[in-house]
């Protein structure tokens, strides 16, 4: 089978979907192919932009946009330096798409939210879905952490013990835990989320929680409140209880990331993007520094796809965009070079504040997101690289993975068809 399109996007993660949404909005013919569902489903579902101060990496950053401007000056190799020109408009675009699709994302007066996790730690993030956007914990007059008997991935006592230790709550703020039953059995986050879409189940949970509510308390729950991207479970639960209800970040699978992905998929399909999931791109033909076609397999059949612009949004090692052997790493479709440095790929400490080199490995690009070699020369002119494929971002420590994905995906979608063709 042979296909032709203006813009071909490989990968259904956050940056690929952003690229598809923006390119489609500009009237391009867009095709998106992906092997699987993308790593955004493994993410928190929040848009982390920039977490901490450059000078004091233990201090939460109060103005991420300003901090990124400073970052670009001191670290011009960071992906943000390639996308800073569109950073703010990309965030506006993202929020508009979310709003239109019934999954609004909220900011915190331009600063960082400090949101609780299932471990009772706090993590800074720039945009959060309404179901996760806990206001200032310093102000709350009580916290009730609610877990589900059916779920093995969430432990209210661990959250409560460590949240108390973190010192963010006022000393006299009551902090209680409760286990509720959603009908019995053992459930995964996904099956529990599905069950909670049933209003009768929510009612039974409300009955179990009500006797334990203290005036002014906020409720923290695992990220399982509804399966669909436009789910109303958190909102309904809050209304019925008369108390705000929030999902916290947890180990995958977690629903907020999956909802974000579903919502964007729904959106781009509505924009006329042709989406093929379960399609593995095995290689590409390149002639005269241009990709003439990519070679893929979908449903067991070979597919050749030609495109004016190819956007490579296949992720890092985890997503399968990068591959490695001892001492060697490369990009998996075009074989683009990945610098491995002369140092060790990992730090001695698992939780090193310096992070691990393997998380920073990726493809170097120019200001048009085109892959470049060591000398800065473009390697393939009609290919753009986005998201976790990009080199130079220490995202687990900096808390900027989804922010880079939003901005770079948006920029690639915007540039598609404009430069180099």
């Amino acid at each position: 089978m042979n296909k032709y399109t203006d813009v071909l996007i490989i990968g259904a993660g956050l940056s690929g979907l952003m690229a598809a949404a923006k390119a489609a909005e500009q009237g391009k013919e867009v095709m998106l192919v992906a092997k699987g569902m993308g790593a955004v489903g493994l993410s928190s579902g929040c848009i982390d932009l920039w977490g901490y101060n450059l000078e004091d990496p233990n201090q939460v950053c109060q103005d991420p946009l300003a901090e990124i401007a400073r970052l670009c000056a001191v670290n011009p190799q960071h992906p943000y330096a390639r996308v800073r020109d569109v950073l703010e408009e990309s965030l506006l675009f993202f929020r508009r798409v979310c709003q239109e699709n019934g999954n609004p994302y909220l900011d915190h007066r331009g600063g960082n939210w400090l949101l609780p996790t299932a471990l009772g730690t706090l993590r800074p993030t720039y945009l959060a879905p309404a179901s996760m956007a806990v206001g200032d914990l310093q102000q709350v007059r009580g916290v009730l952490v609610v877990g589900f008997r059916e779920l093995k991935d969430f432990y209210p006592d661990v959250l409560a013990a460590n949240l108390k230790k973190s010192g963010v709550l006022q000393a006299d703020c009551p902090l209680n835990t409760l286990m509720v039953c959603a009908g019995g059995g053992e459930l995964t986050p996904n099956t529990l989320a599905y069950r909670l879409e049933n209003p009768a189940v929510v009612d039974r949970i409300v009955d179990q929680i009500k006797p334990h509510l203290l005036p002014g308390a906020v409720l923290l729950l695992p990220p399982v409140l509804g399966e669909r991207w436009d789910s109303q479970v958190a909102k309904n639960l809050a209304e019925k209880l008369g108390h705000p209800v929030y999902e916290v970040t947890n180990i995958p699978p977690a629903l907020p990331g999956q909802r974000l992905q579903q919502m964007l998929l729904h959106h781009v399909k509505g924009q006329g993007v042709e989406v093929v999931i379960g399609c593995t791109v095995n290689g590409a033909r390149v002639a005269d520094k241009r990709c003439t076609e990519v070679l893929a397999t979908g449903a067991g059949k070979p597919i050749k796809i030609s495109a004016k612009t190819v956007i490579l949004a296949t992720g890092s090692f985890l997503g399968g965009g990068l591959e490695s052997k001892p001492g060697k790493a490369w990009e998996s479709i075009f074989g683009l070079p990945v610098e491995t440095g002369h140092e060790k790929w990992s730090a001695r400490d698992f939780l090193s504040m310096a992070g691990h080199l393997f998380n920073q490995m990726g493809i170097k690009v120019n200001e048009h997101l085109r892959p470049v070699d060591k000398t800065g020369e473009v390697i393939i002119e009609n290919v753009m690289v986005t998201g976790a494929n990009l080199a130079g971002c220490n995202h687990p420590i900096e808390k900027c993975g989804n922010g880079v994905a939003v901005a770079s995906g948006y920029k690639a979608g915007k540039l598609a068809g404009e430069v180099g063709e």
Binding site: L42, S43, S44, D48, G51, Y52, N58, T117, A118, L119, G120, T121, L122, R123, P124, R149, K152, D153, F154, Y155, D157, V158, A161, N162, S166, E186, T249, N250, I251, P252, S316, F317, L318, G320, E323, S324, K325, P326, K344, W345, S346, R348, D349, F350, L351, S352, M353, G355, H356, F358, N359, H395, P396, I397, K399, G401
Partner: protein, 534 residues
């Protein structure tokens, strides 16, 4: 300061120490075993998991070879749930000296080790990962053995006869008076408290720490510390132990264990008995040699590398390495150094731990005037799980889960099954890679000698599978956070556990395992911001 009394104190909670404790207990000699860490945290969990047939030592070390085959047969009988009867192979490649094979066959026959030549084509058909260039192959009675399980079997058996165990207690002094040992002083490694035990006899079974322990009594015992690095593949590459048919060297043994395969080992003399850091270069060298026997080795997923320190012993001054005998030596310090009440058991290997224990306790018993004979070769280590109980287990854990839990738990399986029958929620699987249930984890936490998540791991295998603890360590902490020993500093418990896993993953960070590492840092840093947790 707390003071205990026992007739004998055994220093070292490895295979030899626990074997000695059991032997003492079965002869009715009151004893306490003291161990600086958890049981099996040292050499006894850091080896191939190979129950030698002796064939590897037949040419150079006939005595060791003969002991191996005898002990191999005994352990199959007394500990069937700890031994997997895989059988072993010795394969010859074109570059190996063909004359060595003849020499080896003669030596095996002399040592009483059966070695039957196998049809190479048929072997490769059954074990398709093997090199098509194999020229000759021989079957020997090698097996895979679970070190953790044997040790706990020893301890549980000894406890039934009244023996005691103190883990996380390091010996800080050995007291003596008038040329006779009178007791030991200990420091609790978890809370720093001191404690002493009065005794008539101290048995030094401290493996690579044997020299350090002897030095506390003013004695010199030259233990050669020989580090060996091994790697673990996330696949059962072959169904038999596979050895290279040539003089023993690096990277020439593969041992299948359940769903994984261990390849090893290297040999480097080190100074520190606690040096268990696997080297990146050693790992690459191992894989290179292993490829000669298994050409596609590079395409299989490694989950980790680990290293152990062989405590080798040779009287006089030897340098170390492959040339040192694998025989053991029993040192009577009364005879040798004029200090009564102390013996050291040094050298040897896992396969012969029971024999080492027998010889040691024979000597100690004669000194104490005890006539009871050794019973460890006859009495089973644990009662086998009955078919009926296994059927009940299958109902609550499913077929594979029940088998694994029954093998791990042995005598305790009944209690765990009962827990889940009473409360089905406890049947949920917290570690999916190794199929470990909440009930089993709670059982380990209840045992009285689990102080860290690592202790739970060694007892249950939680965290030892493909994900290397990424998911199950968090769940285990959650499930146990109500227990006093896990209610304190969650950051510390998790960090220590994850760091130990990380140490083994680092030397093999490429391919699939690099993806796993990226997921793991994604969870603990991106999602939990744990790097800044205090």
């Amino acid at each position: 300061m707390e003071t205990d009394k026992a007739q004998v104190v055994v220093i070292g909670g490895g295979a030899t120490g626990t074997g000695i404790l059991r032997d003492l207990a079965l002869r009715g000699i009151p004893a306490i075993l003291v161990e600086q860490g958890d049981l099996a945290h040292g050499t006894s969990s850091r080896f191939h998991g190979l129950l030698h047939s002796g064939a590897r030592y037949a040419v150079k070390d006939k005595e060791a070879a003969r002991e191996c085959i005898e002990e191999n047969m005994i352990l199959r009988r007394i500990a069937p749930n700890c031994v997997e009867l895989t059988g072993g192979l010795f394969v010859q490649l074109p570059e190996d000296d063909p004359q060595y094979a003849d020499q080896w066959i003669t030596a095996c026959t002399e040592a009483g080790i059966s070695c039957a030549e196998a049809d190479v084509q048929e072997l490769i058909k059954k074990n398709p990962v093997l090199s098509p260039n194999v020229t000759r192959a021989f079957k020997v009675p090698d097996c895979a053995v679970d070190g953790f399980r044997i040790l706990w079997g020893n301890v549980n058996s000894a406890r039934r006869y009244g023996a005691r165990v103190l883990t996380y207690h390091r010996v800080s002094a050995i007291h003596q008076s008038n040329g006779r040992v009178t007791g030991v002083e200990l420091i609790n490694q978890l809370n720093g408290q001191k404690r002493s035990i009065e005794c008539e006899m101290v048995i030094n079974a401290a493996g690579p720490w044997g020299g350090e322990v002897a030095a506390m009594a003013g004695l010199e015992v030259n233990v050669i510390k020989d580090k060996g690095t091994l790697v673990a593949y996330n696949h059962r590459l072959m169904n038999m132990v596979v050895n290279r048919l040539r003089p023993p060297g690096d990277g020439d043994i593969f041992v299948p264990h359940g769903t994984i395969t261990i390849l090893g080992t290297t040999s480097t003399t080190v100074d520190d008995p606690g040096c268990t850091k696997p080297g990146h270069d050693e790992v690459l060298a191992l894989i290179k040699i292993g490829q000669e026997m298994v050409p596609e080795l590079e395409s299989y997923r490694l989950i980790r590398a680990f290293a152990g320190v062989r405590p080798l012993y040779q009287a006089g001054n030897a340098t170390g390495g492959r040339s040192v005998t694998r025989n053991f030596a029993l040192l009577d310090h009364q005879q040798r150094d004029g200090l009564a009440g102390m013996v050291s058991i040094v050298g040897g290997k896992f396969t012969t731990f029971r024999l080492m224990a027998e010889k040691t306790v024979d000597l100690v018993a004669s000194k104490l005037g005890v006539n009871a004979p050794c019973r460890t070769a006859r009495e089973p280590l644990m009662t086998p799980v009955s078919e009926e109980l296994l059927e009940r287990g299958k109902k609550v854990f499913g077929v594979p889960g029940a088998r694994k839990a029954a093998e791990r738990l042995g005598d305790s399986f009944a209690q765990v099954v009962e827990q889940v029958e009473k409360n089905p929620d406890k049947g949920r699987i917290l570690c999916e890679c190794e199929v470990v249930s909440l009930a089993e984890i709670e059982h380990a936490a209840h045992s009285g000698d689990s102080f860290t998540l690592g202790d739970i791991r060694r007892k249950t295998r939680m965290g030892m599978g493909t994900c290397q603890g990424t998911f199950c360590s968090y769940r285990t902490l959650g499930a146990l956070s109500g227990y006093p020993q896990f209610a304190g500093n969650h950051w510390e418990y998790l960090t220590k556990f994850l760091q130990k896993r990380w140490k083994g993953m680092r030397p093999v960070l490429w391919g699939q395992q690099l993806r796993e590492a990226q997921l793991s840092t994604g969870i603990y840093c991106t999602l939990f911001a744990m790097e800044r947790m205090r």
